[in-house]
Amino acid sequence: MSYLSATDMRGGYGKADILNGCTLTVDKGQIAVIVGPNGAGKSTAMKAVFGMLSLREGAVTLGGQDITGLTPQERVHRGMGFVPQTHNIFPTMTVEENLQMGAFIRKDDFRDTIQQVYDLFPAVADKRRQNAGELSGGQRQQVAVGRALMTKPSLLMLDEPTAGVSPIVMDELFDRIIEVARTGISILMVEQNARQALEIADIGYVLVQGANRYTDTGKALMADPEVRRTFLGG
């Protein structure tokens, strides 16, 4: 049994279903990457896993326990961390406060972790007293990822963490994600910078119209010319 397993999810925003039997699983310490065209339901799937969308069908288990009925908040306490695709910072709080909020449920001393985040994103460190709403697009993204890292989750879910960040930061970010995964944390992420992402992925999902089209290791997907042409930009 995988650490996270979301099986056969169906549901949407009221009217027609967006998810049509989508299944996602991640093992401990694994990196899972979801790719797919725009509007395929990737973000929706992430929200569903996180309990922000009620499912009509399907189940989500974490560490063997069924969490389908839990609220997002309870899932946070179970060790899930999430960076949404948009609106992922607190705009009128400073960068530092944003990071502190990431550690809201932690009772221990998290100053080390903040320092680690600053080391990872030096550009953001310079702005720690500035309101996050005043940052550039890429800087916001870095703060958002930093906030999630602060939680020290056991499952980290990232919805397009690299959108808008510069190549050098993207590389750093992927390096860091590998590092994080090596400490036993499971990673589930959506990526449009798909080639780079699949390169580090243990498992890759190609989602189309709310259903799994291809599921394989990252390398295998990269090697499939059909997948490359239709989903990865050649």
Binding site: F90, T92, M93, E97, M101, F104, T151
Partner: protein, 333 residues
């Protein structure tokens, strides 16, 4: 030339009353600004929360007085205040549970919440009158003055007198404390930061493990405490009359806006701006000028008091023209 007399006249008639009034507005505005900052709507029921809370405080005060308990020179109402706050918070949390929560869950636009608060306002309005009636009530006991006009004249030998009431000093002190405490709380405590986070981005706050309902409850309790305190001080200083508390809502809104919505410092600054523009601009300078050796037939009054409300609004508008989101850069949705 008689600078001292001029100064005392100004102090007695302009500075002290305006400062006390400003502080009362500021306390009210703190509550409004807090609700706006965190729950993101202008709470029309705030004035009536003040009235309702004060009515409860008065009832408790009467009870204490009947039991023979007093605070010596300070008004007994101060002793009743915590109880009043507790009771009123209970009621307000009830309204949140019954009314506002529904719209919050539905993610209704702020204007809908504003309208719901108008509904709550009507209800509290009626309840206050049922509980305590419509008459003017005075409930200040203890000493009324720190310094009376006669005492001051005897002491200083000036023609002008100076009066300082206990309630005025009390208001100023309490406002300063409340503002400081609120500022510290919001910016430095965990719960305060959680409140700001919630106000910034509700979903993300949820994702960070913040319990939104707790934040909301806390906000209501603090706002109610501020409202009841403001209402009680206002009632001690003037007198309690249910109708007046709706009227004071407009200057309170004005104060919180001109200072910058969602900003406690702004609320306080706004309160003083409104109060001083009302009192100072319509002040006839004749007497003061007389002390300074400038005799005049006219009153030297810029505008008559009929326009005091209008003047304070003109000043607000001018401030907003140069600082579109208030003096202290408030929120805007």
């Amino acid at each position: 030339m008689d600078i001292l007399n001029a100064l005392v006249a100004l102090l007695n008639f302009v500075l002290i009353p305006a400062a006390a009034y400003g502080a009362q507005l500021a306390l009210g505005a703190l509550g409004v600004t807090l609700i706006y900052g965190i729950l993101r709507f202008s709470n029309f029921a705030h004035g009536d929360t003040m009235a309702f809370g004060t009515a409860l405080v008065i009832l408790v005060t009467w009870g204490l007085q009947a039991l023979g308990i007093s605070l010596g020179p300070l008004p007994t109402a101060l002793l009743a205040l915590p109880i009043g706050i507790a009771l009123c918070s209970g009621f307000v949390l009830g309204t949140d549970r019954v009314v506002y929560r529904f719209y919050r869950k539905k993610r209704s636009e702020p204007i809908i919440l504003v309208m719901a608060s108008v509904g709550v306002m009507f209800i509290m309005n009626g309840l206050t009158r049922l509980v305590i009636g419509v008459d003017e009530i005075r409930f200040d006991d203890g000493a009324r003055f720190l310094v009376t006009v006669q005492q001051f004249r005897a002491w200083s030998g000036l023609t002008e007198g100076l009066a300082l009431r206990v309630s005025q000093v009390l208001t100023l002190v309490v406002t300063a404390l409340a503002c400081w405490a609120l500022f510290r709380f919001l910016n430095h405590s965990r719960a305060g930061k959680a409140m700001r986070a919630y106000s910034d981005n509700e979903d993300l706050a949820l994702l960070s493990g913040i319990d939104p309902e707790r934040v909301v409850r806390l906000t209501w309790i603090i706002a109610t405490a501020l409202a009841v305190t403001a209402g009680t001080l206002y009632g001690l200083d003037k007198s309690f009359k249910a109708f007046n508390y709706f009227q004071i809502l407009l200057p309170i809104f004005a104060a919180s806006i001109v200072g910058g919505l969602g900003n406690p410092l702004g609320a306080v600054a706004g309160g003083f701006i409104v109060a001083f523009s009302e009192v100072a601009i319509t002040y006839p300078w004749k007497k003061v000028a007389g002390y300074l050796g400038i005799e005049s037939d006219g009153l030297l009054q810029l505008l008559s008091t009929e326009y005091k409300f209008a003047v304070s609004f003109v000043i607000l508008i001018v401030v907003l023209l140069f600082r579109p989101t208030g003096l202290f850069r408030g929120k805007s949705v």
